[in-house]
């Protein structure tokens, strides 16, 4: 399961970021922030060839010593980043994909809320609980 889940606006600022409370939150801010470099690089490379059928899932952005960072970008250029523990080898690519899909669905619900202003931080409880199901349970 994830140790950090982040939603990043088109303009590259965080709409939502949540990490397991046991570890420093700022560390994940840095991890996710630097992963944007890779996201940008990936979409700039893909964008030319397959602008239309671009896959939303960006795959492993980069592995660090402790974590693996996965990325996903919606068509409106909102990015999702999931950080998982490197030691967690049981997670397969497919599961990461399905996590992103769930996240995307829930994010769509947030966007459908007429009281939500696109670009504002996400404060939806429904979204929060979906994220909770995907996070490593703190014990």
């Amino acid at each position: 399961m994830a140790v950090c889940i982040a939603v990043i606006a088109k303009e590259n600022y965080p709409l939502y970021i949540r990490s397991v409370p046991t570890q420093g939150e700022l560390k994940f801010h840095y991890t996710v922030h630097t992963s944007l470099d890779v996201v940008e690089e990936k979409i700039s490379g893909v964008g030319k060839a397959l602008a239309d059928q671009r896959e939303l899932y960006l795959g492993l952005l980069y592995p660090t010593e402790d974590y693996k960072v996965y990325g996903y970008m919606t068509n409106s250029k909102v990015k999702f980043v999931i950080v998982v523990d490197s030691s967690n080898t049981s997670l397969r690519d497919n599961e990461i994909r399905s996590m992103f899909r769930k996240l995307h669905n829930s994010f769509t619900d947030v966007m459908c809320n007429p009281f939500y202003n696109p670009g504002d931080p996400i404060q939806s409880k429904a979204f929060d609980s979906i994220v909770s199901t995907m996070m490593v349970q703190a014990f």
Binding site: E11, N12, Y13, P14, I17, E25, L26, H29, Y30, H33, T34, L36, D37, V38, E41, K42, G45, Y62, P63, E65, G119
Partner: protein, 940 residues
């Protein structure tokens, strides 16, 4: 080998290292001047050949790196130039000895050396020696470059001879086993006659020859040798050297593909003869060239003919292959812990190549690998260098955020707790360089428009670090500036607790060094623009900002919108701002005043204290224009937490105007108004300087004395008075307000400090007769009126009303208490002084409000026939509705005294002609007949 050269790039493989060192005491400045001149000779074209020799000059080179010279010859120090000062001939022998001593350090690898002696003149200096050059002084050495060129040529000759020597070694001879320092002990007791060992020696030697060829400018030969070395070494699993051979292949290919170099701007090379020639051949992709079969050559030793007809382009790796081979080489290096530096450098070289190929993703993988290469115990300085280089490389491939991240790590390393003398300056400088990576600029203007950009959490952290670093650097001014910036731009992202902490530390800093509006220039040229606190407090949208002029302190205040009013020279003017405090605590704003341009303006600053998270709060800023003309209000200045800010309206969010222009007219006199009656609340609809209100009984007249005092400095020359009764439904009889201005005008011109009084009579004569009860009573009695024409129009109108009588009589009880209100405005227009010449005047207005109470009512009117048929008696039932006793007098009749709430019949004899008239105008004229006197006043 423990010291990596982070600046290395692939084309460095074709260079030779020359160390330039000072010997004895050489002033640093002088040494580096000479060093620069020497280093300018970085490439030398060799006479009689098309080849170029590239030189890397180093003023510092760790001897342990030199020990890896056999592994990769570009690590070998082949030349030494010593720079020394020598003032007397006596010192010369000693100097010469020291030079020999210095040569020993790199002894085994040196091809040649030179000594540059400065300051020595005379006999000794005249000796002609190739290895020593004498110069009278550091300023007088015109042929240093020439000397160095000669020296390089001599190195080339040695290099070329070595190359030829090695390349033509016969397979029959025993080939020397080249090895790296850590391998030496492994070879002890190894069977040197085995085929395996021989192959290893051959492979390594091939690789070495390849290196030499590359250095000597024979790129194609180098490629061939490398290819052969790869085959040989691969067959014997000599991984370290296989890696080196592969890397050599890559380097040679990179040099071929990218004659401009991969080091970026700093290391850009001059286009050389050989690479230009290469480039010419590069454009023949279809050339029929034969690929040499490296395998065919291996068995026959190192005697292969590597002449020019051997394939060029085909031996050279394609751009794709270069990266593949780099990866392979790095994976081989990775097998050896002691080759960490080699691996790291290879990674860096590969990244530089990838950066040129614009393959950022792969480059980032190489860098990621480089991050994890363990070089054992690194000194703090090396760590800083390592992180900085990683940062630079990330920047090179366009990963701004990663680059910023590593730069920040490097900055933190500068001040690591283990360092005895933390380098706060270096830390600060590095932190500043991370700003673009976090999309942060230090100009608050970039943040004033639109939404916040970038990642607030990391930006906040960086700003905190900047504040801390600048404080530790001993530059409180900078800390204040950064902290102000943090507070101004990150306010929305701070928690209440953080807001408190930040402001507290800001106040601490400003107590030592108040913040101002000047631009702070850093030594490296960066300019920190001032940070005005436009959010402390926040000015509400400017369109709601209303500007008042106060011509007469608080007494006369004319509120007009922006452009339709004037200010008067020499008078106090006001601007009202609506502000609110976003902080969770009380905000003390000091020295708040207006920023203006155009006219000399004396701002009178105000200090205010805004409660925590106040709502809109009006603030009045005052000042005095000293000259006439147009004044533009550009903004306001404040001092909050010890930081003074100039907030311009044009920079404010939500404020559309960029200031407003007000005309300042020449000075005018100023009047203060006092009345004999107490002041009251303002009338509802009008903007008035002041108001009075009084109560009058119907028919009563009272005098109001208005005193006008000239409190200005100018002399009053003209005065006009007009009145305006505010629209009322009441029918008013006679003049409501009357006055006589003659007396006052005779006092003009009125000098400063003088005053005039104007009596104004207020008389209230209203019709209270419209009461239905009264008319109904009349109606009932109508029968008794004789000779009344039935066709009277009023009667017809009145008749239907009688049907509603019960309702009407109910209401009638209250109607005696009805108070009617009259309102009027007295307007004084006056002028004088310089302003009068230009046609300006001032207005002063006084609101008058009168509550009129009814005095007497005629409750019943009836007639009785009199003795004469031409006459009748008019009977009026008079009711005193006041609480006072009053006397009623009529013409040629006796007075009638009415007590409070008393009703009496009053008889009057009229002629018939009168009677009719009286009847239909009934009570209204009667009011005029009656002098109402309040008995309490003692007047009858």
């Amino acid at each position: 080998m423990s010291v990596p050269d982070y600046m290395q790039c692939a084309e460095d493989h074709q260079t030779v290292v020359v160390v330039v060192q000072p010997m004895g005491i050489v002033p640093e400045e002088q040494f580096f001047r000479i060093y620069k001149r020497i280093a300018s000779v970085s490439q030398v074209s060799i006479r009689d050949s098309q080849r170029v020799l590239f030189i890397r000059f180093r003023h510092h080179y760790p001897p342990e790196n030199n020990e890896w010279g056999d592994f990769q010859t570009h690590r070998k120090v082949v030349g030494l130039i010593s720079v020394t000062s020598c003032n007397t001939a006596k010192e010369w022998p000693q100097t010469s000895d020291r030079f020999h001593g210095q040569k020993e350090v790199f002894g085994s690898t040196l091809y040649d050396s030179r000594l540059l002696v400065f300051g020595l003149q005379g006999e000794v200096a005249e000796q002609q020696r190739t290895d020593v050059a004498f110069y009278p002084s550091y300023d007088d050495c015109p042929d240093v470059e020439k000397r160095v060129e000669d020296f390089v040529e001599s190195i080339f000759i040695v290099l070329e001879s070595k190359r030829l020597d090695r390349a033509t070694d016969k397979s029959g001879d025993k080939i020397q086993m080249l090895c790296v320092p850590f391998e030496k002990k492994d070879f002890v007791g190894l069977d040197t006659d085995s085929r395996h060992y021989k192959k290893r020696c051959q492979g390594r030697m091939r690789k070495h020859v390849g290196d030499l060829c590359l250095q000597a400018g024979m790129l194609q030969d180098a490629l061939v040798h490398y290819h052969m070395a790869v085959e040989l070494l691969r067959s014997v699993n000599d991984f370290l050297w296989l890696g080196a051979a592969l890397e050599g292949l890559c380097s040679a290919s990179v040099i071929f593909h990218y004659p401009g170099g991969t080091a970026g701007k700093s290391g850009a090379r001059k286009p050389s003869v050989s690479s230009a020639a290469d480039a010419g051949k590069r454009h023949r992709p279809g050339a029929q060239e034969v690929l040499i079969d490296p395998g065919a050559l291996t068995s026959s030793g190192i005697s292969a003919d590597t002449s020019a007809e051997i394939g060029r382009a085909k031996n050279c790796l394609s751009q794709e292959d270069i990266i593949e081979k780099y990866k392979e080489a790095i994976s081989y290096y990775g097998k050896y812990k002691s080759a960490g530096v080699i691996e790291l450098e290879a990674c860096i070289k590969a990244v530089r190549v990838l950066a040129i190929q614009k393959r950022a993703m792969e480059a980032s993988e190489f860098l990621q690998n480089a991050v994890y290469i363990n070089l054992g115990q690194l000194s703090e300085e090396e760590k800083i260098q390592r992180y900085s280089v990683l940062s630079e490389l990330y920047e090179l491939i366009g990963f701004q955020r990663k680059s910023a991240f590593f730069k920040r790590v490097a900055a933190m390393q500068c001040v690591a707790p283990t360092i005895p003398e933390p380098g706060w300056k270096a830390c600060y400088k590095l932190l500043l360089e991370t700003l673009p990576g976090y999309s942060l600029s230090l100009d608050p203007k970039d943040f004033s428009k639109g939404t916040h950009r970038g990642w607030a959490a990391v930006q906040l952290r960086l700003l905190h670090e900047l504040v801390y670093a600048s404080r530790r650097m001993g530059n409180p001014g900078l800390s204040v500036r950064h902290l102000s910036f943090l507070l101004q731009t990150m306010l929305d992202f701070l928690s209440d607790q953080e807001k408190k902490e930040v402001t507290q530390s800001l106040e601490n800093y400003t107590s030592k060094c108040p913040g101002g509006m000047e631009v702070i220039s850093l030594p490296d040229g960066l300019k920190l623009p001032p940070v005005p606190f436009t959010k402390l407090p926040i000015l509400n949208a400017f369109h709601s900002l209303c500007i008042y002029t106060v011509c007469c302190f608080s007494l006369m205040c004319v509120c007009v919108c922006v452009a339709d009013f004037q200010w008067v020279q020499g008078d106090v003017c006001e601007v009202q701002l609506m502000v609110y405090n976003p902080m969770p605590f009380e905000l003390r704003v000091e020295n708040m005043g207006l920023l203006t341009s155009g006219v000399d303006f004396e701002s009178l600053p105000a200090a205010l204290s805004l409660p925590a998270e106040s709502g809109l709060y009006p603030v009045t800023l005052v000042g005095v224009p000293r000259t006439a003309g147009n004044i533009t209000i550009n903004g306001y200045h404040t001092s909050v937490f010890g930081v003074s800010s100039d907030c311009l309206l044009e920079g404010l969010v939500g404020v559309k105007s960029s200031g407003c222009m007000v005309e300042v007219v020449p000075s005018l006199p100023r009047l203060q108004l006092c009345t004999s009656l107490p002041r009251s609340a303002h009338l509802s609809s009008e903007d008035l300087s002041t108001s009075v209100s009084l109560q009058l009984f119907n028919g009563e007249t009272q005098q109001l004395t208005i005193t006008l005092e000239n409190i200005g400095t100018e002399t009053l020359n003209t005065l006009e008075l007009t009145s305006k009764t505010l629209s009322t439904k009441e029918k008013l009889f006679g003049e409501f307000l009357t006055w006589d201005l003659q007396d006052a005008l005779s006092h003009l011109p009125l000098k400063s400090g003088q005053s005039v009084s104007i009596p104004v009579n207020i008389s209230a004569k209203l019709d209270f007769s419209g009461q239905e009860s009264l008319l109904n009573d009349l109606n009932d009695d109508g029968i008794s009126v004789t000779g009344l024409p039935v066709s009277s129009p009023l009667r017809q109108v009145l008749k239907p009303r009688t049907e509603n009588k019960p309702v009407g009589s109910d209401a009638s009880k209250n109607e005696f208490n009805h108070v009617k209100t009259l309102e009027a405005v007295l307007t004084f227009k006056y002028s004088g002084g310089a302003g009068q010449v230009e046609g300006y005047y001032r207005e002063l207005s006084l609101g008058v409000r009168v509550d009129v109470e009814p005095s007497v009512f005629f409750t019943r009117v009836s007639t009785l026939p009199a003795t004469s048929t031409r006459q009748c008696h008019l009977l009026l039932d008079v009711f005193n509705s006041t609480e006072h006793e009053l006397t009623l007098s009529a013409k040629n009749n006796q007075d009638l005294v009415l007590h409070a709430s008393e009703c009496q019949r009053y008889t009057h004899t009229h002629t018939h002609s009168h009677r009719l008239l009286l009847h239909w105008r009934d009570v209204t004229p009667s009011v005029q007949l009656i002098e109402v006197c309040r008995l309490s006043d003692g007047i009858t």
